[in-house]
Point group: C2
Chain length 275, copies 2
Amino acid sequence: MTEQIFGHIPGHPEGSCFDSREALSRAGVHRPRVAGISGLGQGGADSVVLAGGYEDWDDFGDEILYTGHGGRDPESKRQIGHQTLTRGNRALATNRLSGLPVRVTRGALLHSPYSPELGYRYDGLYQVEDYWRERGRSGFHVWRYRLRKMRDGASQGSMVVRTIYETEAGREVKALYQYGCQICRTCLTSSVGPYAEMIHIRPLAPPHNGPDTPDNILCLCPNHRLLFEVGAVAVAEDFTLIGHDGTLMVDFRHLLNKDHFRYRRMHYPIEPDTD
Amino acid sequence: MTEQIFGHIPGHPEGSCFDSREALSRAGVHRPRVAGISGLGQGGADSVVLAGGYEDWDDFGDEILYTGHGGRDPESKRQIGHQTLTRGNRALATNRLSGLPVRVTRGALLHSPYSPELGYRYDGLYQVEDYWRERGRSGFHVWRYRLRKMRDGASQGSMVVRTIYETEAGREVKALYQYGCQICRTCLTSSVGPYAEMIHIRPLAPPHNGPDTPDNILCLCPNHRLLFEVGAVAVAEDFTLIGHDGTLMVDFRHLLNKDHFRYRRMHYPIEPDTD
């Protein structure tokens, strides 16, 4: 197998056009001739092609909601089973934590306002900001990825791996716990004050559309925020922790909505099918 | 004392002009009539005025390197002692972790290309991205703050508290430690792989200008990265940890440059004068 290249391919800048998957492959922009994701398993994905076919793609230009592969009938192309977090799907998920960039190429058959009129166009580097499992239109599980366009020059020097946000409601919840982690009780302190992070149990961003209210917010230390964020730690119906010893600490004034935990367990499963 | 308001003051949008500090104070945009920083201690700072006077300001428009107050002779206005991390200086440092926004007003006497021709102009909301101690032009310690302009609308909804960056050299160092924290050995893992964060011991951004090379990079878990970042944990000459039990774990192939640790201990002191 040729060495995997992350980032732009020299000689094929953003905007380069290609007649066919064959040409795209020869140029090294997207090696596989059929698969939509280039990359296998733990090594990460270096490239994806958006070219129609799957049922659930949403293309907003700088943001793409990409659907993984698998579970389709090879004849009818209809979804006939669950997608698993294996092969390309697994590879693309790996980029979520490694921060490695993914080349995005759009094909003409995409039915998107951003697709080229003919052939294939290389549209630059994206990062995998998040991924989750959801019930596709067919009723079967599919894996979804939020790809976000990287800013120019980001591939060369330093690039953003994670961004921590905060809202007014989050500050309220953090104050309630005096910045202590609801999972491990740790409170990080510096000479000028304490630090904790908030997380929305059901994420705010579409398609999740969780509310920005205290019943959907936890106060966590950075380590447990990361683990909760990627589905390595979850919270059961009775607040028992999954993937971690003990129970979520909940202040009696903090009325959490259990539907949001249910939503997260479904979409960020702690033991996805990875083999 | 009137309640402290963080964010825009209703009726005085960005770009509003004021004749005098008196007018600025009455409008509530910057309450104190003399002090450059509005806010005391742990509550955080809600506003600063840039109006000339201190020796070490650098105004790049969307980024400002702001110098704290104190240590000046009231008559000559010359720096005659160290600045301490107290009063307004402490307040502004607190915003670094709380993420609370600071109103920035520029005065005409600033000698900056961004200053107004007359009076004072309110220039919108900034965040305190970092702060550190350095030797000012006078030879005395001053506290410096990196203020970064917030994007429109950020004050209403969710705002960025922290951004985690990564570079190629950082990925090398993380691989060397197999994503284990050099302080606590923790390795965060999810179903698709491990996660750790890099930090430049001497920061990359001007005025620090640290190199993006492995001898200036540590691999840390998110919690220890935060503590190291804000100067709550440091590393001594012999790799003993300061502010934490034990010793920094260093792989024999990882040749760290001790000058960078020295730089960080000077600029991010573990026990700044806070009273």
